[in-house]
């Protein structure tokens, strides 16, 4: 700063070396953020194609990327139906996880006794792998859809519950005192103070729950098997495996991955929109 001040007048109008370098670095980085991952993907696909052709690997062991692409195009109708089904279960489970997780968090926050009674069981439900609970669920729950929802819900609700609980308890203590001094009711404190304070925490939990509800839905499909209700992506993967249609397995897998990315991106955008006005995490700073 002081060095720049001593420059002759002509030089002060221009930006100094250092700043130009920094601007260039920033430009390159923002470009690389997109270019590099795409380049890596292209390289990997090329490498994959080369390995398959060079070693003459039969397509029922490892199909080349061209075959997977063909499968994606040719089976598109079947795959998109499957994606729609899996996506519906995932989204419904996520909605229920939000209602259940946030609802329980608020209940626990309002009643310490309730929290002490039930929180340990929420933890037990969470730490027991859903794959091991799912077969039992399908014995007792007649409806396949309900069973799948339940599986997905069990894995997805806990991050919402625990992060919202943390958020509700992370209220600035001075603000809490202020509310007491102004004679706020419980309801007012919850609505005007605790819920807004908990929002960033809740959204963090929601992002995790989005990914988990997809995992829950996929696991549930695999366990539920063919039983009736049409077939989701996980079922298609399994079925294509039985038929040694490896290309379709890859195609369906790519769609599951794309769905996961989409959910994560959508929830990130939602989070940004809700927090951009006030929360530190959503604010971009100059240098």
């Amino acid at each position: 700063m002081s060095l720049a001040d001593e420059q002759p007048i002509g030089a002060t109008a221009a930006r100094d070396e250092d700043e130009i370098r920094r601007a260039r670095a920033a430009r390159i980085e923002s470009l690389a953020k997109w270019v590099l991952p795409v380049a890596i993907m292209a390289l990997a696909i090329l490498g994959w194609a080369w390995i398959v052709t060079a070693n003459e690997i039969p397509h029922y062991i490892l199909p080349g990327p061209d075959r997977v692409w063909d499968s994606l195009v040719n089976d598109w109708g079947m795959l998109i139906d499957a994606a729609y089904l899996t996506g519906r279960i995932t989204l419904l489970a996520l909605v229920l996880a939000v209602i259940g997780g946030a609802g329980l968090a608020i209940l626990f926050n309002q009643s310490k006794m309730l929290e002490l009674s039930f929180y340990p069981y929420a933890v037990i439900l969470q730490v027991t792998p859903v794959v091991s609970i799912a077969p039992l669920i399908f014995i007792y729950v007649d409806s396949k859809v309900a069973g799948m929802l339940l599986c997905a819900w069990i894995v997805a609700f806990f991050p919402v519950l625990s992060s919202t609980t943390l958020g509700l308890n992370s209220v600035d203590h001075n603000l809490r005192d202020l509310f007491r001094i102004y004679g706020a009711t419980r309801w007012q404190r919850l609505r005007f103070l605790q819920l807004p304070s908990a929002l960033p925490y809740f959204l963090g939990g929601l992002k995790i729950a989005g990914g988990l509800s997809l995992i829950g839905a996929v696991v549930a499909e695999l366990v539920a098997g063919t039983g009736g209700i049409g077939s989701g992506l996980a079922f298609r993967i399994q079925e294509a495996g039985y038929r040694l249609n490896i290309a379709r397995m890859f195609a369906a897998l790519a769609m599951v991955a794309a769905m996961g990315v989409f959910i994560f991106a959508a929830l990130s955008v939602l989070s940004h929109l809700l927090l951009r006005k006030w929360h530190e995490s959503a604010i971009s700073r100059e240098t």
Binding site: D172, N174, I181, Y182, P196, K277, W278, H279
Partner: protein, 264 residues
Amino acid sequence: MAVQHHTTLPLDQRPPLLRLNHVDKVFSGDVVALRDMTLQVNQGDFISLLGPSGCGKSTALRIISDLMYPTRGSIDWEGGHGRGDLGVVFQEPTLMPWATVAQNVWLPFRLAGKSYAEVKDDVLEVLRLVGLEKFQNSYPRELSGGMKMRVSIARAIVTNPRLILMDEPFAALDEITRHKLNHDLLELKTKIGCTVIFVTHSVFESVFLSDRIVVMAARPGRVMAELEVDEPYPRGEDFRTSADYAAHARRASEALKEAMGEPA
């Protein structure tokens, strides 16, 4: 906003507001935070509680604001005590980051069940008083530390409370901002004639701002001396550089030294 005129009365002629009667506060059975504090607060007073850390200044504020019960003794409000008697300013601005400046100032009304439309004029009026009317739609993160503190002060005075408690409000600000806010606070006080209890550990701040200084000592927290700064408001830069100011500051420093157990 109704103006109370007691600020201009001599100290001994102001009508009483509240009284702390021999208040003790003991934590976990044996830590004495406050011992036998008696304090008469009259309408229009600007009282500074001056003392080192651990002298019970903040404990006294918490007891007055009903956040804590006294172990012994009582707080008697003239004509009873109810909701809306108090405005509070903490050491941090303590604003809701998700709410705009105007929404933050609306809060005391909102918690009393009043819609924004009902009290909009009052909110804008106090924002004008603290010089932030242009920032009513800004979020706290867009404001500087001094501006946030002004919002906090606006929120404390918007309901025209009987008593305003300030707990080292300017301690975390830089010297220049603190000077400016001290001046503006006095200007505000002269305009609206509020009663203030101001906690500080700065001798100069207490002399400049208040007409009564309560000097406190630590371990156990107790009142050591009460000084009057009998100088008329408004006080400006000329007061800060006057011989009277220096004399008051010397008296307060000596009382504080004595309270801290050092030879005067």
